[in-house]
């Protein structure tokens, strides 16, 4: 994975020093809260319900064991012994003290991490495919490009006061695990007919109050033009994005109000005019330098099957279930990708204790070439594990409560922090996730239900991605009481769709019952092994509405 050079290191250190100064000015009274707020937000520091919250970037979801150990250290030293992995592949600490935040940032900087641009109206942490560099189907590893975007977007002088926040996702696989079509800019690495690899560029996707699927404005962008073209998009947005209304300020509104063709023409015009100005060209040697950091690790030549692992799978149903659900095919023979579930039955989705983080760091160090990933579905990944190590790995994960065999199943629920922590929430998200997970805990039931993505947000900001859940749940406030609106048929993969609202909202208990009924109806209606989403797409919303609300 990428390692900082002197320049990267210096910049992050300088940022910590700058923030330390800003905190000192706040404490000394040189800055009012109104003046300080934008400064702290630019560094990921929020004031939430109970305390401050610090959001730390995990660029494109990749971590080393040393970095994970530091995350554990911070949880223990400055916080309350745990952290929360988010749908943006970041980690959040819920209880830091203002005066200690610069120390936390110093500690992070010592392992090449930071909280830069994890909030504010700037280009946020770039996200990517958690299986990058490991999955067989990949066209090319997207992470070198994500790293290039990270550098380019860090302290961008022109684009740090955008109309609104700006999220970029990059994927290199045909199967989209990075939800690129619901990002401000989504990039797919694609291969042209001539065999050249470049980017397909989607702009104007997003969730929140007005969910929209991105429009494709460039079918093939040569890699060498990536940053310059992104600058053209950003400048078009910075100048023309709406600033009169917070709810209309995202680029999706500009793109959809302008129209695909016209927006594309505007970007092309800006791009043409930019030629000959400050060139944002990346020398091929620089690309090569970054790519080299992401070279595949030194895989051993192994037979693809491991007899001992297969034997245990035949004997132990739990191990077999874990293999089935949490282990994915790797591109190198004899290796596997292992998902670490942060969704224990009845647990808080995405939370990990400092001890769990340390364990995972040890496992990564000894069993996965020192690499870890954070997924936007709030789980962790060991990307390169020898199949012969799977039994040992499983035992150790299991002992720490990290081997729930539920990846992609009903209890692998995304939930934002909701009203238990978040200042903007209308309703709690976590308790409903816990109740559903308990209700649907039975492994045979979950496997029978098959692939199912339940996603829960505590308010319309949609951090829990409810719009793109097969079953989406949105917390709403009705006269001070928590209610939940249910939508069906959303999806965030390469066939992105937005869920359709089923009807009037429910109380928490009723919402759990309703999800149960929806799944019951799916089991009645499915044909030929259809997944929930396939079935819903075939039969539509009507039978579900009738089942839930009656036939009138």
């Amino acid at each position: 994975m990428y390692r900082y050079d002197e320049f990267d290191r210096t910049l992050v250190k300088e940022r910590v020093a700058q923030f330390r100064g800003q905190v000192a000015r706040r404490v000394a009274g040189e800055l009012t809260e109104d003046e300080f707020r934008p400064l702290r937000l630019m560094n990921g520091l929020y004031l939430q319900l109970h305390a401050y919250m610090l959001r730390v970037a995990v660029p494109y979801g990749t971590l080393s064991s040393r970095q994970m150990r530091m995350l554990a250290h911070i949880a223990r030293t400055y916080d309350k012994g745990y952290g929360h992995f988010t749908t943006r592949q970041n980690i959040q600490y819920n209880w830091p003290r203002l005066g200690e935040v610069p120390d936390i940032l110093d500690d992070l900087a010592s392992v090449e991490m930071h909280a830069i641009q994890t909030s504010g109206n700037c280009i946020r942490n770039v996200t990517s495919d958690q299986y990058a560099g490991a999955i067989a189907e990949e066209i090319e590893d997207p992470r070198p490009w994500a790293e290039l975007i990270r550098q380019w977007s860090t302290f961008h002088p022109e684009f740090s006061y955008l109309p609104r926040k700006f999220k970029i996702a990059v994927t290199g696989s045909p199967h989209d695990r990075a939800a690129v079509k619901v990002h401000d800019i989504g990039l797919d690495l694609v291969k042209s007919e001539a065999g050249e690899i470049g980017f397909r560029v989607h702009v104007g996707g997003g969730q929140g109050r007005t969910p929209m699927i991105a429009m494709t404005i460039r079918e093939f962008l040569p890699k060498a033009e990536l940053l310059a073209y992104l600058e053209a998009v950003m400048r078009t947005y910075n100048r023309l994005g709406r600033r009169d209304n917070l709810f209309k300020a995202r680029i999706k509104i500009l793109v959809h109000e302008t129209g695909q063709e016209k927006f594309r023409a505007m970007v092309d015009e800006e791009y043409a005019l930019m030629q000959g100005e400050s060139p944002i060209e990346v020398p091929p040697e620089e690309v090569a330098r970054i790519v080299a950091y992401f070279a595949p690790p030194a895989f051993e030549r192994l037979p693809d099957a491991d007899p001992a692992t297969d034997r245990l799978a035949a004997e132990d149903r739990d191990f077999a279930a874990w293999l089935r659900r949490n282990v994915k095919a790797h591109r190198a023979p004899g290796y596997a990708i292992v998902d670490i579930s942060l969704k224990p039955i009845g647990g808080v989705p995405g939370d990990a204790t400092a001890d769990q983080m340390d364990l995972v760091a040890d496992l990564a160090e000894t069993l996965s070439f020192d690499e870890l990933r954070v997924t936007h579905e709030q789980n962790l990944v060991l990307p390169h594990v020898r199949k012969r190590d799977l039994p040992e790995l499983w035992r150790r994960l299991k002992a720490a409560g990290l081997a729930t065999p539920n990846m992609g199943l009903a209890s692998d629920i995304i939930a934002c922090p909701g009203l238990d922590y978040c200042n903007l929430a209308n309703a709690r998200s976590i308790p409903i996730a816990q109740k559903l997970s308990e209700r649907l805990a039975d492994q045979a039931l979950q496997e029978d239900l098959g692939e199912l993505k339940i996603k829960i947000s505590g308010c319309i900001n949609a951090c829990g991605h409810h719009h793109v859940g097969h079953i989406g749940i949105l917390g709403v406030d009705r006269k001070g009481t928590e209610y939940y609106q249910i939508s069906l048929g959303g999806s965030a993969d390469e066939n992105t769709s937005l869920g359709e609202i089923l009807g009037p909202s429910f109380t928490e208990d009723d919402a759990v019952e309703v999800v149960d009924k929806i799944l019951g109806l799916y089991r009645e209606l499915r044909e030929n092994g259809e997944s929930f989403l396939q079935c819903y797409r075939r039969v539509g919303a009507r039978p579900f509405k009738e089942r839930i609300y009656g036939a009138h």
Binding site: D5, F7, D8, T10, L11, E14, R15, A17, Q18, G21, Q22, E30, E35, P38, L39, N121, Q151, W152, T154, F155, H156, P157, E158, F159, S160, Y161, L162, P163, R235, N238, R239, R243, L273, E277, S278, P279, I280, V282, P283, E285, E286, R289
Partner: protein, 167 residues
């Protein structure tokens, strides 16, 4: 209110004139709308002239007149309205403007570094203390990743230079 020009505290030598105000003697900065309406008369005056541009106004519309303007004041009605960052870059890089680009309005100390990178050379800050901290602010970052109007060598260029030197 304090003015910083080329990094140093400076005496205000332009009068900011509103759209209806009587024109005083000497150097003035007028709103863009007034400039459009009274262009000939304003350019005929024998005093330095500046134009104040609001965030939604297009600097491109001034392109032909730029050599005759001593100051372009780009307004920040709110610090978070970042459109002027693009306007400044366009003035410098696309339109070749060589005069003073001044940040006026709700200008925060912590924005000055970025502003100077996109081509601003003068800043009207609200607090005197912020003016005093100018040098400190500018020294907060020693490296930059992106090319911009300030033509500072980027980290990418420095790496490339190091590679060439190593060969």
């Amino acid at each position: 209110m304090a003015l910083i020009r080329h990094g140093l505290p400076a005496r205000e030598d332009f009068a900011a004139v509103g759209s209806e105000d009587a024109l005083p003697e000497g150097a003035v900065i007028v709103p863009f709308a007034r400039y459009r309406a009274e262009r000939e008369a304003l350019l005929a005056r024998n005093a330095p002239l500046g134009v104040r541009i609001e965030p939604g106004e297009r600097v491109e519309e001034l392109s032909d007149d730029l050599p005759r303007l001593a100051v372009i004041a780009l307004a920040f009605p709110q610090f978070k309205d970042g459109r002027a960052f693009s306007s400044a870059r366009l003035l410098r890089e696309r339109l070749g403007y060589k005069g003073e680009i001044r940040a006026v309005g709700n200008v925060l100390r912590d924005q000055i570094f970025f502003m100077s990178r996109v081509g601003f050379t003068a800043f009207e800050v609200e607090k005197d203390k912020d003016a005093a901290a100018f040098a400190e602010t500018m020294a907060e970052f020693s490296q930059v990743y992106q090319p911009s109007s300030d033509r500072r060598p980027t980290v990418l260029a420095l790496r490339q230079g190091a590679r060439m030197a190593a060969e």
